[in-house]
């Protein structure tokens, strides 16, 4: 394997064309007609990949300034976030903080201030890193993605969007238009925990929990994890077993059973064994914190 010092990161060593379409329709047409064209939004992942030649491109289609893609909207029973909304905009949005506090908490923790000002939610999802910070919360919220192409629109549940590390179902001539998050009528507690080496490192393990308790029993719990499988994942079997139990028992069961829902590996950031052990603990911690917030009632509705 090449050491990263074999690369000069000052310049992008690839000849590119650069397109700044005026609207989404134009962007789709360029993407369709120009060979080797790739969509760029914040560029915080793509520019790095271009410098390292992990991605080869002939042209970039910049969608970061399209107002059609840069919005956060509260609808009837849902919140819709345009794919080019920056992580900073999401972290600071009053609508997101009030309605999707789990997403706000994750967005706040993503990268550094300089990165959050550039990075977009669409880019975070389409890059499809197993460690993507916005993915576990959006999985827990059962978010849906609206993909558009010149042929039309299709809706894909986020749970079916990722197909592997850096792989999604998005097609070459498709653009992610927005992320739609359904709101539930009831109050949930929430917690996002990310384990990392330094304050803006990429996650070794991340856990997102939404929790509702009734009369001491878990009425609903949604657990999603990042960096512990080829894609961000929901811990479905742990959830299923935890629902209906007394809260303390649910925590114990979910923490034990989460092992069956994940498949961590060894890599530069951590080891499979460490990730497995810490996933168990973080599920426990996140459920307790979510419970405290649920009781504190400053909760998601």
């Amino acid at each position: 394997m090449l050491s990263i010092n074999a690369f000069n990161t000052y310049r992008i060593p690839q000849q590119l064309k650069y397109f700044k379409p005026g609207n989404l329709q134009e962007a789709l047409e360029i993407l369709e007609s120009v060979e080797g064209a790739k969509v760029i939004a914040g560029g915080t992942d793509l520019v790095v990949d271009l410098k390292y030649r992990r991605v080869e491109a002939r042209a970039l289609v910049d969608i970061s300034r399209l107002s059609e893609l840069r919005f956060i909207k509260l609808g009837d029973g849902y919140v819709e976030i345009g794919s080019a909304a920056t992580i900073r905009e999401i972290a600071e949005s009053g609508v997101v903080k009030e309605k999707l506090p789990l997403l706000a908490e994750a967005a706040e923790s993503l990268g550094s201030w300089q990165i959050r000002n550039l990075a977009t939610v669409g880019g975070n999802l389409c890059t499809a890193s197993p460690a993507a910070d916005t993915a576990p919360p959006l999985l827990a919220y059962d978010a849906e993605l609206e993909l558009v192409s010149s042929r039309g629109v299709r809706i894909v549940p986020l749970g079916k969007f990722f197909t592997g590390p850096k792989k999604t179902v998005i097609e070459r001539a498709e653009i992610l238009r927005s992320v739609r998050v359904p709101l539930t009528p009831r109050t949930y507690g929430w917690c996002f925990i990310k384990l990392r080496r330094t304050s803006f490192d990429i996650a070794k393990v991340s856990v997102a929990v939404l929790l509702r308790v009734e009369g001491g029993f878990v009425a609903d719990v949604r657990i999603a994890l990042g960096s512990v499988a080829p894609t961000p994942v929901r811990a479905r079997s742990a959830e299923k077993l935890a629902i209906g139990l007394k809260f303390e028992d649910a925590v114990r069961v979910a923490s034990e059973r989460v092992a069956g829902d994940i498949s961590p590996i060894d890599d530069a950031r951590s080891t499979a064994w460490y990730r497995l052990q810490t996933s168990k603990v973080l599920v426990k911690d996140a459920m307790w914190r979510a419970y405290e917030r649920f009781l504190g009632a400053g909760a998601w509705r």
């Binding site: 650069y18 914040g42 520019v47 201030w113 300089q114 000002n117 803006f200």
Partner: protein, 167 residues
């Protein structure tokens, strides 16, 4: 394939021919000779190349130059001459915040942006500076300089010299 971009650099409308694969960092340093912007890691991790893009700190090594067409960019040399910038620089000098100095322009931009946004809390300032790495000082003297700046400017909000985009 050259293309021409037009943006406001440190308050001055600037036109420059760029290659589409160039980053803002490349164009600032090589074409516009703004050497106060430093190349560190080149992958958005160290913060040495921080500039203000439409008033927000960003790492210029990851911003495509073509993107800033129609935007407002402010660089460390300019920021250092503003009232608030001077307060930060003076505090850094007095507190010995600078050792090798390579990271300092980036820190200046981030600290400036955080103060201009009205942040007055030291812990909040620390959080804002997470994306700037310093390998010499251990940050102690930098944080001390931030504290001193906070004392200097008190509760007043100095006029933000970096205006909004003109597009």
């Amino acid at each position: 394939m050259e293309m021409r971009i037009r943006f406001r650099l440190n308050g001055v409308v600037t036109e420059v021919d760029i290659e589409p694969h160039e980053t803002l960092l490349n164009v600032l340093r090589d074409k516009l000779k703004v050497k106060s912007v430093k190349y560190g890691c080149g992958i958005g991790e160290c913060g040495s190349c921080t500039v203000l893009l439409d008033g927000d700190p960003v790492v210029s090594c990851l911003v495509m130059a073509a993107k800033v067409d129609g935007s407002e960019v402010a660089t460390p040399d300019y920021i250092a001459q503003t009232e608030l910038g001077k307060a930060i620089v003076d505090s850094m000098l007095e507190e010995g915040a600078v050792q090798c100095g390579y990271c300092i322009p980036g820190f200046l931009v981030t600290i400036y942006a955080a103060l201009a946004r009205g942040i007055r809390d030291v812990d909040e300032m620390r959080k804002a500076m997470v994306g700037n790495i310093c390998r010499c000082t251990g940050y102690v003297n930098i944080v001390r300089a931030v504290k001193k700046t906070l004392k200097r400017i008190g509760s007043q909000t100095p006029r933000n010299a970096v205006e909004r985009p003109f597009r």
